[in-house]
Amino acid sequence: MVTRKKRVNKGQGNIAIALEDTRVVVGNLSDAVRRSRKGVGQRVQEELDLLVETVNRTQEDLVRLKPEQITGLRIGSAHAELDAVIRHTEQAAGDFLLAVEELEIIAESLPKKKAAQIREVTTRMLEASTFQDISGQRLDKAKKEIKEIDSCVASLLAVLGHEVVVEEQVPDQVLSDDDLLNGPQHEGMGSSQEDIDALLASFD
């Protein structure tokens, strides 16, 4: 996967301008109705006033959201934090495995029974270490999702009239099994080893 910078130009369906235009048009229409047929268009007048109020409120809400504060620093920092977590857990798992390997060497010099006891413990330690692989995959998945949020915020900023530069993922090639890469499943979502064994057996 290659990451390339993409400039999102302002003006693509600019909501801020569109809202302003709508506000002006509705305002003008409202004044025209008021001037031309006093009393007759009372209901229309009320509807138009309501529309002006709604447009104004929407514009204020969008400004209050301050999407420019979400992008860049905050999302970039979340990404860096996840990278650091991956790095540190990898380091910790590496140290942990080194200790396991040292214990195994010590076990070789012990009487058979003691060595077997140590090996039973180190096996459990090795099994537990697989957390790093699983958590790493989960964090990678979270990183991809954060990147997508970043891209969505950038698009929102663009329609609000801000010029932003976002990074987008460009696939090198279309992988035929891409849609099968779902990563680790949450508890109860994926198949258990027993389910998989049964499924495999059904092919025989």
Partner: protein, 128 residues
Amino acid sequence: MAVDKNLRILIVDDYKTMLRIVRNLLKQLGFNNVEEATDGSMALQMCRTQDYGLVISDWNMEPMTGLQFLKELRADDKLKGTPFIMVTAESKTENVIAAKQAGVNNYIVKPFNAETLKKKMIAVIGEF
């Protein structure tokens, strides 16, 4: 006849920690002739230059996934008989079916334990 513990095994995973864990578990089972690759293309290259009695591969790797690697192996007349166990966090039914259709010999879902690894190895290469 019991399997020769000198059997050359190729383990494939892009997580170095995982390679180390599987290598250690294999060592505990008495298999010391273990080589490593970090993605499917590297593993395929190694298979083309060296015979392996067993491949234990992850699925989710770049640039070549474990599934693609398996398909390449099965498409190669010289390598198509290589015993192949997929060890992966991909646990959806469609994954297992795709792997089986590609010719996987067995499938282990992560996280797994030493007992599961041993059982699946026996199912694929025989008693040891």
